[in-house]
């Protein structure tokens, strides 16, 4: 076994230390060392996006990043999405109101990806949303209500009238 190294990662605003082998993946640090199991492992091959977190504000697949690469950096996970007053963040409310999840396995990754998408482009077109979440797979919803949820969150963030939450059936 290689030497363990001590790292400090600021996760959802809280600085945490951990002793890690260099080969430890970020997703395992989050789930097993920090006991935050909201970040999921789906494919373990960089395809499904269930493990998406923000690393210094950028959405990344934590199954394909070494924990040690997050040393000194900020990580945001689904556990940190809530507003400071404990209410749901716009993206969480949007998923809840728009039937944007069934089993919920993809949802944390979807919301983290959508968070960065909306930060970079607060008013995306439908095409930009679909393109933007192409690295996140959902086996249940058929995506339509996820797209609608991101449009809802976009309106909410920009302070515009909220679109209808009638589910889309296809």
């Amino acid at each position: 076994m290689q030497m363990e190294k001590e790292i400090t990662v600021t996760i959802n605003g809280e600085a945490k230390k951990a002793k890690v082998e260099p080969r430890l993946l970020l997703v395992h640090l989050i789930r097993e060392d920090f006991n935050m199991t909201g970040t999921h492992i789906g494919c373990d091959t960089t395809h499904c996006g269930a493990c998406t977190v923000l690393l210094d504000g950028k959405s990344v697949k934590s199954c394909t990043i070494l924990a040690i690469q997050a040393d000194g950096k900020k990580v945001s996970t689904v556990e940190g999405l809530l507003n400071a007053d404990g209410t749901l963040a716009a993206i969480q409310e949007a998923f809840k109101e728009n039937h944007a999840l069934h089993c919920g396995f993809c949802t944390p990754g979807m919301m983290m990806r959508a968070t960065e998408l909306l930060q970079k482009n607060p008013n995306p077109s439908e095409d930009e949303i679909r393109w933007g979440i192409s690295g996140n797979l959902c086996r249940c919803t058929g995506y339509n209500n996820i797209v609608k949820a991101i449009q809802y969150a976009s309106a909410k963030i920009r302070g515009e009238a909220l679109p209808s939450t009638e589910p889309i059936f296809v």
Binding site: M1, Q2, M3, K5, E21, P22, R23, L24, L25, D44, T45, T46, H47, G49, T52, K58, S59, V60, K61, T64, I65, L66, I68, Q69, D71, R113, E116, L117, G132, I133, S134, G135, N136
Partner: protein, 287 residues
Amino acid sequence: MIPAAFDYAAPATLNEALALLKKHGDEAKVLAGGHSLIPMMKLRFASPGYLVDINNIPGLSYIKEEGGFLKVGALTREVMLEDSEMIHTKYPIFIDASKLIADAQVRNMGTIGGNIAHGDAANDHPAVMLALRAEVVITGEGGARTVPIDEFFFGFYSTAVQPGEILTEIKIPIPAKGSGGAYHKLERKVGDYATAGVAVQLTIDKGTCTYIGIGLTNVNAIPLRAKRAEDVLKGNKITDALIEQAAQFAAEDCSPSTDLRGDIEYKKALVKVLVKRMIHKAMDRVK
């Protein structure tokens, strides 16, 4: 899937990184975006004993025009190309390619240097760099050397970058007035590697094609420049008949293999179609 054990350092300077690479020789690998290397390590296709993470080295990430070249730092991420106004307006061929690489999360990490240094004919930037006649700056303890892209790819996962060296910059001669370029690949699903891909860069001067570069993705053991196809067009007025001939030569000269993405005949047919389309698209973009 967990990689085999290895040791790791993230030096803060290029010199330290080069010293570590020298010290650990064949055992060591450079870690850039990690989005080719880490998947391979998880599958245990690669098990380097030592990783030199170059992400903490400042000054390796930039896009700038200088001294007649478009210079791209090795650590420049795909997303930086997408976000660059200059790339959108002057080098849309890079946007064509970058948009077709994996997905937003991968493009937040993957670097242009890594995309080339990986030496994989399935990656998209090599064909673009071949079409643009890029030059690759490789730095070792003795200093930097520049390798033309035509001499960069040696074989499967093998390039001109030697143990102890770091790819630091890619230099693209700024195309002359009257130039245009385009890239497209066919993929089975969004984010997939190319079934076949074609990059075309050309210059038209008073109706004559004075520069032509055609690079092919994933239809050969190493990224392939379609030289015979280029020769058909170079120095001539581009006509439909010549485009047809060039596309035919490109299809004849590549050697794809049969795999889950298609058989040889299918991939050659794709190359032929894409060469024609990309020549037209590059001509439409001439400015």
